[in-house]
Protein backbone atom coordinates (compact mmCIF):
# COMPACT_ATOMS: atom_id res chain seq x y z
CA UNK A 1 0.00 0.00 0.00
CA UNK A 2 1.56 3.29 -1.09
CA UNK A 3 1.34 6.42 1.07
CA UNK A 4 1.36 9.84 -0.55
CA UNK A 5 3.91 12.36 0.77
CA UNK A 6 3.28 16.11 1.07
CA UNK A 7 5.42 16.49 -2.08
CA UNK A 8 2.90 14.39 -4.01
CA UNK A 9 5.28 11.42 -4.43
CA UNK A 10 4.15 8.01 -3.20
CA UNK A 11 6.14 6.01 -0.66
CA UNK A 12 6.18 2.25 -1.11
CA UNK A 13 7.29 -0.57 1.13
CA UNK A 14 9.33 -3.30 -0.51
CA UNK A 15 11.41 -6.36 0.35
CA UNK A 16 15.08 -6.91 -0.39
CA UNK A 17 15.07 -10.13 -2.41
CA UNK A 18 18.68 -10.47 -3.53
CA UNK A 19 22.11 -8.84 -3.49
CA UNK A 20 24.70 -9.79 -6.07
CA UNK A 21 28.20 -8.37 -6.45
CA UNK A 22 28.95 -7.61 -10.08
CA UNK A 23 32.47 -6.21 -9.55
CA UNK A 24 34.81 -5.55 -6.63
CA UNK A 25 32.95 -2.44 -5.58
CA UNK A 26 29.59 -2.66 -7.27
CA UNK A 27 26.53 -4.73 -6.49
CA UNK A 28 22.99 -5.16 -7.70
CA UNK A 29 20.02 -5.37 -5.41
CA UNK A 30 16.72 -6.86 -6.42
CA UNK A 31 13.60 -5.49 -4.72
CA UNK A 32 10.06 -6.83 -4.84
CA UNK A 33 7.93 -4.61 -7.06
CA UNK A 34 5.10 -3.20 -4.95
CA UNK A 35 1.61 -3.52 -6.44
CA UNK A 36 0.66 -0.42 -8.38
CA UNK A 37 4.19 0.92 -8.78
CA UNK A 38 4.61 2.15 -12.36
CA UNK A 39 7.58 3.88 -13.93
CA UNK A 40 9.18 4.71 -17.26
CA UNK A 41 12.63 3.54 -18.39
CA UNK A 42 15.25 6.02 -17.19
CA UNK A 43 13.44 7.02 -13.99
CA UNK A 44 14.78 6.82 -10.43
CA UNK A 45 13.50 5.68 -7.09
CA UNK A 46 14.49 7.33 -3.79
CA UNK A 47 15.42 4.83 -1.10
CA UNK A 48 14.59 6.04 2.39
CA UNK A 49 16.30 4.91 5.59
CA UNK A 50 15.36 6.93 8.66
CA UNK A 51 16.44 10.47 7.70
CA UNK A 52 18.74 9.49 4.85
CA UNK A 53 17.51 9.34 1.27
CA UNK A 54 19.37 8.39 -1.91
CA UNK A 55 18.24 8.30 -5.52
CA UNK A 56 19.07 5.33 -7.71
CA UNK A 57 18.13 4.82 -11.36
CA UNK A 58 16.23 1.64 -12.09
CA UNK A 59 18.04 -0.97 -14.19
CA UNK A 60 14.81 -2.89 -14.71
CA UNK A 61 12.36 -2.32 -17.51
CA UNK A 62 8.76 -1.34 -16.73
CA UNK A 63 7.59 -4.82 -17.71
CA UNK A 64 9.84 -6.62 -15.20
CA UNK A 65 8.35 -8.23 -12.12
CA UNK A 66 11.10 -6.99 -9.76
CA UNK A 67 13.07 -3.76 -9.38
CA UNK A 68 16.84 -3.89 -9.86
CA UNK A 69 19.32 -1.22 -8.82
CA UNK A 70 23.05 -1.04 -9.58
CA UNK A 71 24.99 0.47 -6.69
CA UNK A 72 28.63 1.33 -6.20
CA UNK A 73 29.76 0.69 -2.65
CA UNK A 74 31.49 3.80 -1.43
CA UNK A 75 33.74 3.19 1.56
CA UNK A 76 32.23 5.25 4.36
CA UNK A 77 29.24 6.08 2.16
CA UNK A 78 26.14 6.22 4.35
CA UNK A 79 23.57 4.66 2.08
CA UNK A 80 25.55 2.12 0.08
CA UNK A 81 26.88 0.72 3.39
CA UNK A 82 23.32 0.28 4.68
CA UNK A 83 22.48 -1.66 1.54
CA UNK A 84 25.60 -3.81 1.83
CA UNK A 85 24.63 -4.75 5.38
CA UNK A 86 20.86 -5.15 4.86
CA UNK A 87 19.53 -8.67 5.42
CA UNK A 88 17.82 -10.47 2.55
CA UNK A 89 14.10 -10.29 3.35
CA UNK A 90 14.46 -6.91 5.10
CA UNK A 91 11.78 -4.30 4.42
CA UNK A 92 12.90 -1.11 2.69
CA UNK A 93 11.00 2.04 1.78
CA UNK A 94 11.24 4.13 -1.36
CA UNK A 95 9.43 6.98 -3.08
CA UNK A 96 8.99 7.45 -6.76
CA UNK A 97 9.15 7.28 -9.61
CA UNK A 98 11.28 10.41 -9.94
CA UNK A 99 12.89 12.26 -12.82
CA UNK A 100 12.46 13.01 -16.49
CA UNK A 101 15.57 11.31 -17.86
CA UNK A 102 13.57 9.46 -20.48
CA UNK A 103 14.26 8.65 -24.10
CA UNK A 104 12.66 11.23 -26.38
CA UNK A 105 12.56 9.89 -29.95
CA UNK A 106 13.59 12.24 -32.76
CA UNK A 107 15.07 11.94 -36.22
CA UNK A 108 18.57 12.49 -34.84
CA UNK A 109 20.90 9.60 -33.95
CA UNK A 110 21.03 8.91 -30.21
CA UNK A 111 24.33 8.78 -28.36
CA UNK A 112 24.10 7.46 -24.80
CA UNK A 113 27.07 8.22 -22.57
CA UNK A 114 27.58 6.77 -19.10
CA UNK A 115 30.32 6.51 -16.56
CA UNK A 116 30.32 3.67 -14.03
CA UNK A 117 26.91 2.83 -12.59
CA UNK A 118 25.46 5.66 -14.70
CA UNK A 119 24.78 2.85 -17.16
CA UNK A 120 21.66 1.86 -15.18
CA UNK A 121 19.01 4.02 -16.92
CA UNK A 122 20.36 3.02 -20.34
CA UNK A 123 19.96 -0.63 -19.43
CA UNK A 124 16.31 0.07 -18.59
CA UNK A 125 15.88 1.86 -21.94
CA UNK A 126 17.57 -0.90 -23.94
CA UNK A 127 15.55 -3.62 -22.19
CA UNK A 128 12.41 -1.64 -23.06
CA UNK A 129 13.05 -1.86 -26.79
CA UNK A 130 15.47 0.98 -27.57
CA UNK A 131 17.69 0.06 -30.52
CA UNK A 132 20.12 1.60 -33.01
CA UNK A 133 21.86 3.82 -30.51
CA UNK A 134 25.52 4.50 -29.89
CA UNK A 135 26.58 3.78 -26.33
CA UNK A 136 29.80 4.97 -24.71
CA UNK A 137 30.48 3.42 -21.32
CA UNK A 138 33.40 4.93 -19.46
CA UNK A 139 34.99 2.86 -16.69
CA UNK A 140 38.47 2.24 -15.34
CA UNK A 141 38.74 -1.47 -16.20
CA UNK A 142 36.81 -4.07 -18.15
CA UNK A 143 35.37 -5.79 -15.05
CA UNK A 144 33.24 -2.66 -14.57
CA UNK A 145 31.52 -2.98 -17.94
CA UNK A 146 28.19 -3.84 -16.37
CA UNK A 147 25.41 -5.11 -18.66
CA UNK A 148 27.73 -5.25 -21.69
CA UNK A 149 25.95 -8.39 -22.93
CA UNK A 150 22.58 -6.59 -22.76
CA UNK A 151 23.85 -3.80 -24.98
CA UNK A 152 25.86 -5.90 -27.42
CA UNK A 153 22.75 -7.68 -28.64
CA UNK A 154 20.84 -4.41 -29.03
CA UNK A 155 23.33 -2.20 -30.79
CA UNK A 156 26.38 -2.55 -33.00
CA UNK A 157 27.76 0.70 -31.60
CA UNK A 158 28.69 -0.29 -28.07
CA UNK A 159 31.96 1.39 -27.18
CA UNK A 160 33.70 0.56 -23.92
CA UNK A 161 36.04 3.37 -22.90
CA UNK A 162 38.66 2.07 -20.48
CA UNK A 163 40.78 4.66 -18.71
CA UNK A 164 43.06 2.45 -16.59
CA UNK A 165 43.36 -0.95 -18.24
CA UNK A 166 46.90 -2.01 -19.10
CA UNK A 167 45.85 -4.65 -21.66
CA UNK A 168 43.09 -3.36 -23.82
CA UNK A 169 40.49 -5.96 -24.90
CA UNK A 170 39.69 -6.00 -28.60
CA UNK A 171 37.13 -3.44 -29.73
CA UNK A 172 37.56 -1.10 -26.77
CA UNK A 173 38.76 2.50 -26.62
CA UNK A 174 41.66 3.53 -24.41
CA UNK A 175 40.72 6.67 -22.57
CA UNK A 176 37.73 8.56 -21.26
CA UNK A 177 34.38 8.97 -22.99
CA UNK A 178 35.26 12.60 -23.68
CA UNK A 179 38.38 11.44 -25.50
CA UNK A 180 36.22 9.28 -27.75
CA UNK A 181 33.87 12.22 -28.37
CA UNK A 182 36.78 14.44 -29.37
CA UNK A 183 38.59 11.98 -31.59
CA UNK A 184 36.26 9.30 -32.88
CA UNK A 185 32.60 10.24 -32.99
CA UNK A 186 31.81 11.62 -36.47
CA UNK A 187 30.71 15.25 -36.49
CA UNK A 188 26.94 15.32 -36.79
CA UNK A 189 23.88 16.57 -34.92
CA UNK A 190 22.87 14.07 -32.24
CA UNK A 191 20.63 13.57 -29.26
CA UNK A 192 23.07 13.05 -26.40
CA UNK A 193 22.00 11.38 -23.16
CA UNK A 194 24.58 11.79 -20.40
CA UNK A 195 24.46 9.94 -17.10
CA UNK A 196 27.26 9.91 -14.58
CA UNK A 197 29.49 12.07 -12.44
CA UNK A 198 29.30 15.85 -12.71
CA UNK A 199 32.88 16.08 -14.00
CA UNK A 200 32.03 13.87 -16.98
CA UNK A 201 28.88 15.89 -17.68
CA UNK A 202 30.84 19.14 -17.61
CA UNK A 203 33.64 17.86 -19.84
CA UNK A 204 31.29 16.15 -22.30
CA UNK A 205 29.12 19.24 -22.54
CA UNK A 206 32.15 21.35 -23.48
CA UNK A 207 33.02 18.93 -26.31
CA UNK A 208 29.40 18.82 -27.49
CA UNK A 209 29.17 22.63 -27.54
CA UNK A 210 32.37 22.85 -29.59
CA UNK A 211 32.10 19.85 -31.90
CA UNK A 212 28.48 18.82 -32.22
CA UNK A 213 26.65 22.14 -32.56
CA UNK A 214 22.88 21.95 -32.79
CA UNK A 215 22.78 18.69 -30.85
CA UNK A 216 20.29 18.09 -28.05
CA UNK A 217 21.50 17.11 -24.59
CA UNK A 218 19.67 15.37 -21.75
CA UNK A 219 21.50 14.82 -18.48
CA UNK A 220 21.20 12.83 -15.28
CA UNK A 221 23.92 13.71 -12.79
CA UNK A 222 25.31 11.39 -10.12
CA UNK A 223 26.91 13.71 -7.58
Amino acid sequence: MAVQQSTGAYVYSTELLERRWISDKTFEIKLARPPGFQFEPGQRIRLIHEKIERDYSLVSAPGDSNLVLCIRHITGGAFSSILVDARIGERLRFSGPHGYFLFYPSGRPAVLIATGTGIAPFCAMACSGLKNFTLLHGVRSSDELYYASVFRVRTTHYIACLSAESRLPRGTFRGRVTGYLKKNLPVETYDFYLCGRSEMIRDAMAVIDDRFKGSFVYTEIFY
Binding site: Y100, Y104, D191, I201, S215, F216, V217
Partner: protein
Protein backbone atom coordinates in the same frame (compact mmCIF):
# COMPACT_ATOMS: atom_id res chain seq x y z
CA UNK B 1 26.65 17.16 -2.16
CA UNK B 2 27.91 19.34 -4.99
CA UNK B 3 25.24 21.37 -6.76
CA UNK B 4 27.47 22.54 -9.60
CA UNK B 5 28.73 20.87 -12.73
CA UNK B 6 30.34 23.86 -14.43
CA UNK B 7 28.70 22.86 -17.73
CA UNK B 8 27.23 26.37 -18.00
CA UNK B 9 30.47 28.23 -17.41
CA UNK B 10 30.75 29.19 -21.05
CA UNK B 11 27.39 30.91 -21.16
CA UNK B 12 25.36 28.03 -22.52
CA UNK B 13 22.57 26.09 -20.86
CA UNK B 14 20.37 23.10 -21.69
CA UNK B 15 16.65 23.51 -22.07
CA UNK B 16 14.43 20.84 -20.55
CA UNK B 17 13.76 19.75 -24.12
CA UNK B 18 17.48 19.18 -24.72
CA UNK B 19 18.57 22.13 -26.86
CA UNK B 20 21.83 23.87 -25.94
CA UNK B 21 21.19 27.62 -26.01
CA UNK B 22 22.87 30.83 -24.89
CA UNK B 23 21.84 31.99 -21.45
CA UNK B 24 20.72 35.24 -23.04
CA UNK B 25 18.17 33.40 -25.21
CA UNK B 26 14.66 34.85 -24.90
CA UNK B 27 13.18 31.58 -23.60
CA UNK B 28 15.79 31.53 -20.83
CA UNK B 29 14.87 35.15 -20.03
CA UNK B 30 11.23 34.09 -19.72
CA UNK B 31 11.74 31.19 -17.33
CA UNK B 32 14.44 33.19 -15.52
CA UNK B 33 11.80 35.82 -14.78
CA UNK B 34 9.48 33.14 -13.46
CA UNK B 35 12.29 31.87 -11.23
CA UNK B 36 12.93 35.42 -9.98
CA UNK B 37 9.23 35.91 -9.32
CA UNK B 38 9.21 32.69 -7.30
CA UNK B 39 12.11 33.95 -5.19
CA UNK B 40 10.41 37.28 -4.50
CA UNK B 41 7.30 35.38 -3.42
CA UNK B 42 9.52 33.46 -1.00
CA UNK B 43 10.73 36.76 0.45
CA UNK B 44 7.13 37.96 0.68
CA UNK B 45 6.12 34.84 2.62
CA UNK B 46 9.05 35.45 4.97
CA UNK B 47 7.82 39.01 5.59
CA UNK B 48 4.22 38.05 6.38
CA UNK B 49 3.07 38.17 10.00
CA UNK B 50 2.81 34.89 11.91
CA UNK B 51 -0.97 34.52 11.86
CA UNK B 52 -1.42 34.23 8.10
CA UNK B 53 -1.15 30.49 7.54
CA UNK B 54 -3.90 30.42 4.91
CA UNK B 55 -2.22 33.18 2.94
CA UNK B 56 1.17 31.48 3.20
CA UNK B 57 -0.40 28.29 1.84
CA UNK B 58 -2.03 30.25 -0.99
CA UNK B 59 1.28 31.86 -1.99
CA UNK B 60 3.21 28.60 -1.69
CA UNK B 61 0.67 26.91 -3.97
CA UNK B 62 1.42 29.67 -6.48
CA UNK B 63 5.15 29.02 -6.03
CA UNK B 64 4.55 25.36 -6.90
CA UNK B 65 2.57 26.40 -9.99
CA UNK B 66 5.50 28.61 -11.00
CA UNK B 67 7.86 25.61 -10.86
CA UNK B 68 5.65 23.81 -13.38
CA UNK B 69 5.34 26.97 -15.45
CA UNK B 70 9.12 27.43 -15.49
CA UNK B 71 9.64 23.84 -16.66
CA UNK B 72 6.98 24.35 -19.33
CA UNK B 73 8.76 27.47 -20.59
CA UNK B 74 12.09 25.61 -20.55
CA UNK B 75 10.63 23.18 -23.08
CA UNK B 76 10.25 24.03 -26.73
CA UNK B 77 6.72 23.46 -28.05
CA UNK B 78 7.69 20.86 -30.66
CA UNK B 79 9.40 18.64 -28.10
CA UNK B 80 7.94 15.27 -27.02
CA UNK B 81 9.07 16.13 -23.48
CA UNK B 82 6.36 18.83 -23.28
CA UNK B 83 3.81 16.10 -22.62
CA UNK B 84 5.64 15.17 -19.39
CA UNK B 85 5.11 18.58 -17.80
CA UNK B 86 2.08 19.61 -15.77
CA UNK B 87 0.11 22.29 -17.59
CA UNK B 88 -1.45 25.46 -16.21
CA UNK B 89 -5.10 24.45 -16.09
CA UNK B 90 -8.14 26.77 -16.24
CA UNK B 91 -8.79 25.72 -12.61
CA UNK B 92 -5.55 27.44 -11.56
CA UNK B 93 -6.71 30.67 -13.16
CA UNK B 94 -10.11 30.34 -11.47
CA UNK B 95 -8.36 29.88 -8.13
CA UNK B 96 -6.48 33.16 -8.64
CA UNK B 97 -9.67 34.97 -9.63
CA UNK B 98 -11.46 33.72 -6.51
CA UNK B 99 -8.53 34.87 -4.38
CA UNK B 100 -8.58 38.31 -6.01
CA UNK B 101 -12.32 38.64 -5.39
CA UNK B 102 -11.98 37.47 -1.79
CA UNK B 103 -9.21 39.98 -0.97
CA UNK B 104 -10.89 42.80 -2.87
CA UNK B 105 -14.07 42.43 -0.81
CA UNK B 106 -12.09 43.21 2.33
CA UNK B 107 -10.44 46.33 0.92
CA UNK B 108 -11.77 49.90 0.63
CA UNK B 109 -12.35 51.01 -2.98
CA UNK B 110 -9.33 52.48 -4.69
CA UNK B 111 -9.69 56.28 -5.00
CA UNK B 112 -6.39 57.10 -6.68
CA UNK B 113 -3.22 55.58 -8.05
CA UNK B 114 -1.08 54.29 -5.21
CA UNK B 115 2.67 54.21 -4.87
CA UNK B 116 4.25 50.78 -4.51
CA UNK B 117 5.29 50.51 -0.88
CA UNK B 118 4.01 50.67 2.66
CA UNK B 119 4.74 47.68 4.84
CA UNK B 120 7.68 45.47 3.79
CA UNK B 121 5.33 42.63 2.82
CA UNK B 122 3.31 45.01 0.61
CA UNK B 123 6.48 46.38 -0.99
CA UNK B 124 7.61 42.82 -1.77
CA UNK B 125 4.19 42.01 -3.27
CA UNK B 126 4.64 45.03 -5.55
CA UNK B 127 8.11 43.84 -6.59
CA UNK B 128 6.63 40.41 -7.29
CA UNK B 129 3.90 42.07 -9.37
CA UNK B 130 6.40 43.94 -11.53
CA UNK B 131 8.61 40.86 -12.00
CA UNK B 132 5.45 38.97 -12.99
CA UNK B 133 4.70 41.66 -15.60
CA UNK B 134 8.24 41.30 -16.96
CA UNK B 135 7.78 37.54 -17.18
CA UNK B 136 4.56 38.15 -19.08
CA UNK B 137 6.34 40.46 -21.52
CA UNK B 138 9.04 37.87 -22.18
CA UNK B 139 6.51 35.07 -22.57
CA UNK B 140 4.58 37.09 -25.17
CA UNK B 141 7.73 37.09 -27.33
CA UNK B 142 7.42 33.30 -27.62
CA UNK B 143 3.85 33.41 -28.94
CA UNK B 144 4.58 32.55 -32.60
CA UNK B 145 6.59 29.50 -31.65
CA UNK B 146 3.66 28.06 -29.67
CA UNK B 147 1.00 28.95 -32.22
CA UNK B 148 2.94 27.50 -35.15
CA UNK B 149 3.33 24.25 -33.19
CA UNK B 150 -0.35 24.01 -32.30
CA UNK B 151 0.12 24.64 -28.58
CA UNK B 152 -2.04 27.76 -28.62
CA UNK B 153 -4.42 26.82 -25.78
CA UNK B 154 -1.66 25.96 -23.34
CA UNK B 155 0.16 29.15 -24.27
CA UNK B 156 -2.94 31.26 -23.75
CA UNK B 157 -3.51 29.64 -20.37
CA UNK B 158 0.03 30.57 -19.33
CA UNK B 159 -0.47 34.17 -20.42
CA UNK B 160 -3.81 34.37 -18.61
CA UNK B 161 -2.25 32.91 -15.48
CA UNK B 162 0.55 35.50 -15.43
CA UNK B 163 -1.87 38.34 -16.15
CA UNK B 164 -4.17 37.22 -13.36
CA UNK B 165 -1.25 36.64 -11.00
CA UNK B 166 -0.11 40.26 -11.48
CA UNK B 167 -3.60 41.43 -10.54
CA UNK B 168 -3.61 39.14 -7.53
CA UNK B 169 -0.26 40.53 -6.38
CA UNK B 170 -1.54 44.11 -6.67
CA UNK B 171 -4.56 43.31 -4.49
CA UNK B 172 -2.37 41.29 -2.16
CA UNK B 173 -0.03 44.28 -1.71
CA UNK B 174 -2.94 46.43 -0.63
CA UNK B 175 -4.20 43.68 1.65
CA UNK B 176 -0.77 43.34 3.26
CA UNK B 177 -0.83 47.04 4.10
CA UNK B 178 -4.31 46.74 5.51
CA UNK B 179 -3.31 43.75 7.65
CA UNK B 180 -0.45 45.74 9.15
CA UNK B 181 -2.61 48.88 9.46
CA UNK B 182 -0.45 50.81 7.02
CA UNK B 183 -2.26 53.20 4.70
CA UNK B 184 -1.78 52.93 0.94
CA UNK B 185 0.32 55.87 -0.25
CA UNK B 186 -1.64 57.86 -2.86
CA UNK B 187 0.17 59.28 -5.87
CA UNK B 188 0.35 63.05 -5.66
CA UNK B 189 0.64 64.67 -9.06
Amino acid sequence: MKIYTGSGDRGMTSLFSGERVKKSYERVEAYGDVDELNSVLGALVAALPGDTDAMVKEIQDIQSDLFHLGAWLATTPDSPSLSKIEKISPAKINTLESAIDRLQERLPPLQAFILPGGHLSAALAHIARTVCRRAERHVVLLREEYISNGVTKQFEAVLSYLNRLSDYLFVLARYCNQMREVNDIPWRK
